[in-house]
């Protein structure tokens, strides 16, 4: 799995090119994320609208990605119901900034959003 990177209005948008974030790709995702956010100081939004499955290993990879931002919030957009459930049950929805979709993430006011 790769993280596709693009910038829009100084916001780094990361999109996994897979429909699953599971134990098989969790470590790779963390490495890809580290590479992508190196020397990036603006907002980072991960578009999860294409992810139809995430297990607790995938959730762990998202938490380790958040830590790599060293105090800045990781913003997540477009959680499908299955993925949203994993965040909600584990209360991790309180730890990330979660946007309904990428559009609202881009028009939101940075860290004060959501």
């Amino acid at each position: 799995m790769d993280l596709i990177r693009r910038n829009e209005d100084d916001i780094l948008i990361l999109t996994p090119d897979s429909d699953r974030i599971d134990a098989a790709c969790a470590i790779h995702l963390k490495d890809q994320f580290r590479e992508a956010v190196e020397e990036v100081e603006g907002r980072v939004v991960m578009d999860l609208s294409g992810i139809s499955f995430m297990d607790s290993s995938g959730l762990g990879a998202m938490v380790s990605a958040l830590k790599l931002l060293k105090g800045r919030k990781l913003e997540l957009a477009g959680l499908t119901p299955v993925v949203a459930k994993v965040f909600k049950l584990t209360r991790m929805d309180q730890v990330f900034i979660i946007h309904d979709d990428l559009g609202s993430a881009l028009t939101a006011d940075g860290a004060n959003a959501a």
């Binding site: 098989a24 607790s56 762990g60």
Partner: protein, 171 residues
């Protein structure tokens, strides 16, 4: 009584042959299918793809049940791979799924790895998320999800086998 731990490949093969002799239902119901896979690489992902396809063919099962089943079976298999088999590749995984009624499935997993510590399931505990960023938990959610979505999960150790059983229904 002295328990002898055997972990020879031949012993595993014999157990596999025994379970090939016929479906072994833990409860009443109709055996839907038995799925076999191996640890390592994309083993669990491939096994889950087969399971998902088989469950999708059962029209009466809800989307909600399907997604819960996929999550919980994955969590159980990940746990077996990581802990029971200590990340050893090419170890056998077996998942039997039965239809209890039109809207309830029962899942039984078997592996030949190490027994659960204390011969019981890990507790339902959610790691504390109200902590400084650097202390946020990156794991430990698996058993919380299993106990939350499949509260009736049971564990037994039979000979060299770990057996987990749980049911999921529409509620």
């Amino acid at each position: 009584m002295i328990l002898v731990q055997l972990s020879l490949p031949m012993v595993q093969m014999q157990h596999e042959n025994v379970s090939n002799n016929g479906p072994r239902l833990a409860g009443p119901g109709t055996l839907l299918a038995v799925f076999r896979g191996q640890t390592g690489g994309y083993g669990i992902r491939m096994l889950m793809a087969d399971i998902r396809e088989a469950l999708q063919n059962e029209d009466k099962l809800s989307v909600e049940l399907l997604s819960n089943a996929e999550l919980i079976i994955s969590e159980v298999l990940n746990n077996i791979e990581e802990h029971s088999y200590a990340n050893e590749p090419d170890c056998p995984l077996r998942v039997a799924i039965s239809l209890i009624n039109e809207t309830t499935i029962e899942v039984e997993t078997q592996d030949f790895g190490e027994p659960m510590p204390g011969l019981k399931l890990p507790p339902k505990s959610l790691p504390n998320t109200d902590v400084p960023l650097e202390d946020l938990p990156e794991g430990g959610f698996g058993w919380f999800l299993i106990h939350t979505l499949a509260p009736q999960t049971t564990y037994t150790r039979k000979g060299q086998r770990n057996i987990l059983t749980f049911s999921l229904d529409d509620c």
